[in-house]
């Protein structure tokens, strides 16, 4: 864009006239994407207070004047921010820190980012001899933020061999990487998404004893690699303090993810092609599991019905639309609306869902026992005084059928929009 301001009086006029049919379009154009802001007739920046702001904690509209939250161009703003992060390039690293992210769903997971943060700690500890972070990823991906996640070098291995559950092929590739570059550290997420398995395979193959369940590292002069770590042992009941070995499987939140810098994320290739492997494990693919039918104890998101549910079709429909697993209070089971294996509570299943939505459940102690280890509890209930409300992180007082209906509408609407956008 040129630096000279070119003015278009007609557009400025439209911009000032809120009732003009083209008002918003023009605003957007003038404001460079932010319809809430444009350059006024005499070069002053103008703001439209009606399109800015967000809902404050007490339901009042708040206008944010920091400039971050402006207009519809959130993505653009974020991009601008990343662009402004300083780019750190490590041309000739003193050593490598290898990370093997899970890349669940083709993207870096939060856990992956934490590990990359940990990798940066190791790599950047000595400014005189900086290391580089090497990420090894497998298969197709949709991630475009490798640079922002702190990756200097990227080894991307693709091909049918390493797709799906292919531990043997992936292991072969990692061994090749080890042989090619011999990183000083290997960091792998200790996660059910694959890291825990692959990391152990790698350590076993290379005959090195890894640290597992690592959640903290500290610089330590005595240790071989200069670091000591704290790791969970004995099924999470012990903390083991030991020097950090070359191979570490680390837990989520072991470090802060990288946020201030950008890195090169330059692609590497293995010096030699991978030898073809004869796999003894064949992946027959994922088995379709209906979320509603997932065992309660394994479910991550439960929509649970109690005596306050009258519209059962509506409830089942809601569970289906939300993709939630169905749960129930004992009364709902006793009354024959739900199967017995759906009962949550003292005499039912103790669930560990991250989100538990209790619809028309009063929160008897026997029921609450069953949801002790749920992270977030949402209650939809008519009675603001009932115990479930006290337990809930978010409670909506209202008729269960209506709220569910509205929720279903919202979700469907959002899906529709997404489809249209795509």
């Amino acid at each position: 864009m040129s630096e000279i301001l070119r003015r278009d009086p007609r557009k400025e006029w439209i911009a000032r006239n809120r009732l003009h049919p083209q008002h918003l379009e023009v605003l957007a154009e003038l404001g460079g994407g932010a319809a809430s802001e444009w350059v006024g007739p005499n070069g002053l920046v103008r703001r439209n207070p009606h399109v800015v702001g967000f809902m404050g904690p007490n339901g009042l509209k708040r206008i944010d004047r920091s400039g971050v939250q402006q207009g519809a161009g959130g993505g653009g703003a974020a991009k601008a921010a990343t662009q402004s992060k300083p780019l750190v390039e490590i041309e000739s690293p003193a050593f490598l820190v290898a990370v093997v992210p899970d890349m669940a769903g083709g993207r870096l997971t939060g856990h992956d980012r934490d590990l990359l943060g940990l990798a940066r700690q190791l790599a950047d500890a000595d400014p005189a001899a900086p290391g580089a972070v090497l990420a090894v990823i497998f298969g197709e991906h949709k991630e475009d933020g490798f640079a922002e996640a702190g990756i200097d070098r990227l080894l991307h291995l693709d091909g049918p061999d390493v797709e799906g559950f292919a531990p043997e092929a992936r292991l072969g590739a990692l061994v090749a990487a080890e042989e090619a570059w011999t990183p000083r550290h290997w960091l792998i997420p200790d996660s059910k998404l694959g890291g825990a398995d692959l990391g152990r395979r790698l350590a076993a193959r290379l005959g090195e004893r890894p640290a597992t369940g690592v959640w903290q590292i500290e610089a330590s002069a005595e240790a071989d690699l200069g670091w000591s770590c704290t790791a969970r042992g004995a099924a999470g009941t012990l903390d083991i303090q030991r020097s950090l070995p070359r191979f570490a499987l680390a837990l989520a939140e072991c470090a802060e993810p990288v946020s201030d810098t950008r890195h090169a994320a330059s692609e590497l290739t293995l010096p030699q092609a991978l030898p073809a492997q004869l796999s003894r494990i064949e992946d027959l693919g994922q088995v379709a599991v209906d979320p509603a039918g997932v065992a309660l104890s394994e479910a991550e998101f439960i929509l649970s019905a109690g005596n306050g549910v009258r519209d059962w079709d509506g409830f089942h429909h809601a569970a289906e639309v939300l993709g939630a697993t169905e749960g129930a209070s004992r009364v709902a089971v006793d009354d024959g609306f739900m199967a017995r294996n759906r009962q949550v509570g003292a005499t039912g299943t103790w669930v560990t869902a991250r989100v538990y939505v209790a619809v028309g459940i009063s929160g008897a102690i026997q029921h609450l026992q069953g949801i002790q280890s749920c992270d977030k509890v949402v209650a939809i209930n008519m009675d603001p005084g009932c115990d479930m409300i006290k337990r809930a992180d978010l409670a909506v007082i209202g008729d269960s059928a209506k709220v569910l209906e509205a929720l279903v509408a919202l979700v469907e609407q959002a899906r529709e929009e997404k489809r249209n956008a795509a």
Binding site: T237, I281, V289, E300, A324, V355, V378, L394, V396, A406
Partner: protein, 255 residues
């Protein structure tokens, strides 16, 4: 097939017991029709351990093979030798032990040593026939993946595997512990570590790297909004639903 069993530790009281995952492994083995199941443990034999090991016998077994090893020794060579001597088709193990390092490495090291394939995190074994096992691997959110693995193989069980049957007192008392000896390999490295009861990990604070005071203020305000125990009274169904929707979105459970 052989199930590797270890002495577990109750998470609250620390009393020894059959380890939950190993017991699931035993249960998994029992679900296979016609399977000949052997139980194998390497470790020390004392009163507490014996009670715990008898817990496995109480699941309906006559005997358990116990390779005596002193405490804090490396069970790997002993187990590998025993399995090499009489190789089973399938070795089932828990994902990690409830005592000591509990690194979950043992099955991997065993597989490496024996040169067998390993599949981790099983929810079920569907079929064993013709030297191949069809298994279901547990994925997060109750999802499953079907795999075929060439035998002999080592598999580990997931918490999604069927819950272990009750251990009955009678068979537990009557069952035999068949004690055998094996060379001992001391775990030298582990002797250097420090063990402490697990500390509670600090909850991660949302660190806001804000360029300006306004950003920081905004972040603080946003956090208060998400704070726990929010009760929405006198809202329309739509407003309530919107709040719920927002939370579900934030938690990432909607897809």
């Amino acid at each position: 097939m052989t199930v590797l069993v270890s002495v577990g530790r109750h998470p609250v009281t620390g009393r020894s017991r059959r380890a939950d995952q190993d017991a699931r492994g035993v249960e998994l083995a029992r679900t296979l029709p016609g399977a000949e199941i052997g139980l194998l443990h390497a470790g020390r034999l004392d009163e507490g351990n014996e009670a715990a090991l008898r817990g496995y016998l109480g699941m309906g077994f006559d005997a358990l093979t116990l390779i005596e090893q002193p405490e804090s020794s490396d069970a790997l060579p002993a187990l590998a030798e025993a399995l090499k001597a009489a190789p089973p088709q399938l070795v089932i193990a828990g994902e990690r032990a409830e005592q000591g390092e509990g690194s979950g490495l043992l099955p991997y090291l065993l597989a490496e040593r024996l040169g067998w394939p390993l599949v981790s995190g099983l929810a079920a074994v569907e079929e064993v026939s013709g030297g191949v096992a069809t298994v279901l691997q547990a994925l997060p959110r109750g999802q499953r993946r079907r795999l075929k693995v060439r035998l002999p193989a080592i598999v580990t069980v997931d918490a999604a595997a069927p819950a272990p049957r009750q251990s009955a007192f009678g068979p537990a008392q009557r069952g035999r512990l068949e004690v055998s000896e094996a060379p001992v390999a001391a775990d030298v490295e582990m002797a250097e570590w420090q063990f402490k009861p697990a500390r509670k990990r600090p909850k991660r604070l949302k660190i806001v790297k804000a360029a300006s005071a306004r950003d920081r203020f905004k972040a603080a305000a946003a956090k208060a909004e998400g704070g726990g125990g929010q009760v929405l009274t006198d809202v329309t169904a739509e407003q309530g639903a919107a709040a719920v929707y927002k939370l579900l979105k934030e938690e990432g459970v909607l897809r």
